[in-house]
């Protein structure tokens, strides 16, 4: 935790509001409604590992701390279990918010503190794009190359392979055309938003 070091200057109302507005538009949640009851953080399984608790993330968005939020570990450690959103008295779905923040972080090229998690996300998405479902062998390969972490989990990986849990030949699904269409559409949309 690295709290209490930076001070906030709130002299431009527009600047403070801009990030909040952007985050709200992206996730479709009314973030101003948060009254900091901490119900989200109390139920969050990954909060103990986060640099900022989920409630603090919402607070930081309210105060316009864009860079800190988009570079935080918290947005990548969220496992989207949705406990927060289910319990929030103001119906703020923080899981959805976290997704939006991850997108914003990547789009705007912020330094991701949890690069391996980003690498895993990419490897997963790539695998789906290619085969329409996860193919463990190529996905793991891609992850290993992206993360440059070749040795971790090698032994359990080998064990799984020996038991036939990691097939070499990827299986294909019937609806590949639809999958490709989905990727094409969402990428075009993301591209349009970037402009």
């Amino acid at each position: 935790m690295d709290e209490g070091t930076t001070s906030i200057t709130l002299s431009e109302g527009e600047g403070t509001r801009a990030f909040l507005q952007e985050a709200q538009d992206r996730c479709g949640q009314s973030l101003r409604l948060c009254y900091q009851c901490l119900k989200c953080t109390a139920g969050c399984p990954t909060a103990p590992y986060m640099d900022f608790n989920p409630n603090t993330i919402v607070r930081m968005i309210q105060l316009g701390l864009k860079q800190e939020v988009l570079e935080s570990k918290a947005i990548w450690l969220c496992v989207s279990c949705e406990t927060c959103g289910t319990r929030c008295p103001n119906e703020i779905d923080i899981g959805v918010l976290m997704d939006a923040l991850r997108e914003m972080s990547l789009e705007k090229g912020y330094r991701a503190h949890e690069a391996n998690i980003v690498a895993l996300h990419h490897a997963f998405m790539e695998s789906i794009r290619r085969f329409g479902r996860v193919h463990e062998a190529t996905m793991l390969m891609e992850y290993k190359l992206r993360s440059r972490d070749l040795w971790t989990d090698l032994v359990p990986g080998m064990k799984l392979f020996m038991k036939g849990k990691i097939p070499l030949i990827p299986g294909r699904i019937k609806g590949m055309k639809a999958i490709r269409e989905m990727y094409r559409k969402t990428q075009r949309k993301a591209g349009a938003e970037k402009k």
């Binding site: 001070s7 906030i8 200057t9 709130l10 002299s11 109302g13 101003r32 409604l33």
Partner: protein, 659 residues
């Protein structure tokens, strides 16, 4: 008395948790003359009272001791119960084994049980010599004095007049309306303060039963519930209000200007001025302190321009004496002076104003005609900081209590700010946001979302001028970060304090105040609108900070309490008053001098002292002062009190304490 009954209450666990009530009941039953002794979980409940009534009837009791809570709680309850069985109520006594025993001896079961027994024994000893007394009656003046013409006083006056009683409504300012007349829109429904006040003012003006005396002070109050004699000093207005048509020419032409209290220093007023600006402001008064006629004689412009010849520089003050049966104290509030708060600029930064000043700015009849303008340069502000809990909830330096209205009015003011200056961004520094009434939380949440308010949790450390801005240093404790802001305007929600002079008025009424000057109630739950001084009723912020809704409810409560009082033809009073043994009294007159209630007087013919029973409150001052023990208090005679002491000293045999 030979057939006494003792009834011991458990008060749930309040008494029984500390005192062994079963053992006490058994021990009391063994005392001579006690023919009935029992305990019960709640003696004040219906079945509990029935136990007492049945015992009186079945066992022919001729005296009852109820061992329970303080007599101020339930003495009346039990006396009513015994009366319904035909017993004289003054043969029922309370032994206080809760406040004076179980509550103060928790964890000392053995000693508390012993003490409870001793207390009951001593009361039995007193009861043994009690006389049969009859309730005193005295005349009742069915007219009410209401002190303070704010919404509390106005509401109480209208309610009482509607019930058919005459009301005298006195106000210190030149016109009635109080703080409410300074406000803009009110939370949570955003009703215009004038729409609440206007019709009520009109009702008061047209009601022949209500006599409004503005610009006056209550100088003296004598007498008691049912018959107070009050003297009201009407300050000279130097304007003959009978002739004045409130045309306003004098206000225009007067050459002297000084800062207006009503506008909280945001505007000036002339030396001749009215209570509130606008149509329903009433007639003007001249401020003797600033008027040039009184400082250097030559100015008489107002007199020259007045077509009605209403200006009268020689007007003197007027004393009005009235007799009333009850008094409503609705003296209202003030805001804690900003000048005392160093870290927020001692009130010297023009763009730092208090909540009431901002209300004036928001008000269409205010100094800016409802436009939001910085006091320093008249610019429309963009960054506006609101600071809550200024001098409230600060036991070390200022007021320890919560002022109750600031959270809501700050949210409301931020909302109105956004409506009037859409480019503005409100920042609100808070400790907690308290929205404790119907519709308040909903109002707050809706306002935060719709008006894009930024709430920052933490007290502001410092506010100071930086160029043409006001720099605010604070901290957001939710992110643990220092916050710095360059604000155009800062609004302080300063603490609600009792209005000036409350302690003097309270002293004149013999009403009590707490250490902050708020009037104290007789019991916070049982008698919340009554002062401990009988006949004095409390409404509005003089009793404690509260919003308009609560103030109006409290004011109506005082009116209904007074109606209950006035529903009797005569006033009933406890006969527990002083009396004089004419054989012993030497006529020295010491009692006359010590009596705080003017209930003692010399009988010049017999040369002895007398007691006006209707005035005597049974305080006992004369009894202590009498050099030859000629004064006694009914049912607390010296013999009885000494008997009680002897029980504690153990001089009376335990077994014969009752007989």
């Amino acid at each position: 008395m030979k057939r006494l009954g003792v009834f011991i209450c458990h008060c749930g666990v309040n008494i029984a948790g500390t005192v062994d009530v079963k053992r006490v009941a058994q021990e009391m039953g063994e005392i001579e003359d006690v023919v009935h002794s029992e305990d019960y979980i709640y003696m004040c409940s219906d079945p509990g009272q029935l136990l007492i009534r049945n015992a009186i009837r079945d066992e022919g009791l001729d005296g009852v001791v109820v061992a329970c809570c303080s007599p101020s709680m339930h003495e009346t309850t039990f006396r009513k119960a015994v009366r319904s069985e035909g017993m004289n109520p003054y043969l029922c006594e309370i032994a206080n084994i809760r406040e004076q025993c179980s509550w103060v001896h928790q964890g000392e079961r053995e000693r508390a049980t012993h003490k409870a027994g001793e207390i009951i024994r001593s009361i039995l000893e007193k009861l043994k010599q009690n006389e049969i007394l009859e309730t005193l009656t005295m005349p009742l003046t069915k007219r009410v004095l209401v002190i303070g013409g704010g919404i509390a006083g106005i509401t109480a006056s209208i309610d009482l007049a509607d019930a058919g009683y005459e009301v005298i409504l006195v106000e210190r300012q030149p016109s009635i309306g109080g703080r409410l007349s300074q406000l803009s829109l009110t939370f949570p429904h955003l009703d215009d303060a004038r729409c609440i006040l206007g019709p009520k003012r009109a009702e008061i003006a047209s009601d022949p039963k209500i006599r409004v005396i503005p610009y006056c002070e209550v100088e003296e109050v004598k007498g008691f519930i049912g018959n107070f004699d009050v003297r009201i000093r009407r300050k000279p207005t130097y304007v003959d209000w009978d002739k004045c048509t409130a045309c306003g020419v004098c206000l225009e032409k007067c050459p002297v200007e000084s800062l207006s209290d009503f506008e909280r220093g945001l505007a000036t007023r002339k030396a001749i001025y009215t209570g509130a600006p606008g149509g329903d402001s009433g007639k003007p008064v001249i401020d003797r302190g600033s008027c040039r006629h009184f400082t250097n004689e030559d100015c008489a412009i107002c007199q020259e321009v007045c077509r009605e010849g209403a200006i009268r520089y020689d007007q003197g003050e007027e004393l009005i004496e009235e007799r009333v049966g009850a008094i409503v104290v609705a003296t209202g509030y003030d805001l804690f002076p900003m000048e005392k708060i160093g870290e927020y600029g001692y009130g010297r930064i023009p763009d730092v104003i208090d909540g009431l000043a901002f209300e004036r700015m928001l008000s269409p009849s205010g100094p800016t005609r409802g436009e939001i303008r910085r006091p320093s340069d008249g610019r429309i502000p963009r960054e506006v900081v609101f600071i809550q809990c200024v001098a409230s909830r600060d036991p070390e330096r200022y007021m320890p209590y919560c002022s109750r209205v600031c959270c809501m009015y700050t949210a409301k003011q931020a909302k109105l700010l956004k409506q009037k200056a859409p480019g503005a961004q409100p920042y609100i520094f808070f400790m907690d946001v308290r929205t404790d009434s119907k519709g308040y939380e909903e109002f707050l949440q809706q306002t935060i979302e719709e008006e894009e308010l930024i709430y920052l949790r933490g007290r502001v450390a410092r506010v100071f001028r930086e160029g043409d801005k006001v720099r605010v240093w604070g901290e957001d404790t939710l992110t643990n970060r220092k916050v710095e802001l360059d604000a155009d305007m800062v609004i302080l929600a300063t603490a609600v304090v009792p209005s000036e002079g409350i302690k003097d008025i309270a002293a004149r009424l013999r009403a009590t105040t707490d250490k902050h000057g708020f009037l104290t109630e007789a019991h916070i739950k049982l008698y919340p609108v009554e002062s401990p001084t009988k006949g004095i009723f409390l409404a509005g912020c003089g009793q404690g900070p509260k919003d308009i809704t609560d103030t109006v409810a409290q004011a109506s409560a005082t009116a209904s309490k007074i109606q209950a009082l006035f529903s009797q033809d005569v006033l009933l009073q406890d006969p527990l008053v002083a009396f004089v043994d004419a054989e012993i009294c030497s006529g020295c007159g010491i009692c006359v001098r010590v009596c705080p209630y003017e209930a003692r007087e010399m009988d010049e013919y017999r040369k002895i002292s007398m007691v006006h029973e209707a005035l005597c409150q049974g305080c006992g001052a004369c009894i202590a002062a009498c050099p030859n023990n000629a004064c006694e208090l009914r049912n607390s005679k010296a013999g009885q009190v000494f008997g009680m002491i002897e029980v504690f000293e153990g001089r009376r045999e335990r077994s014969s304490a009752g007989g």
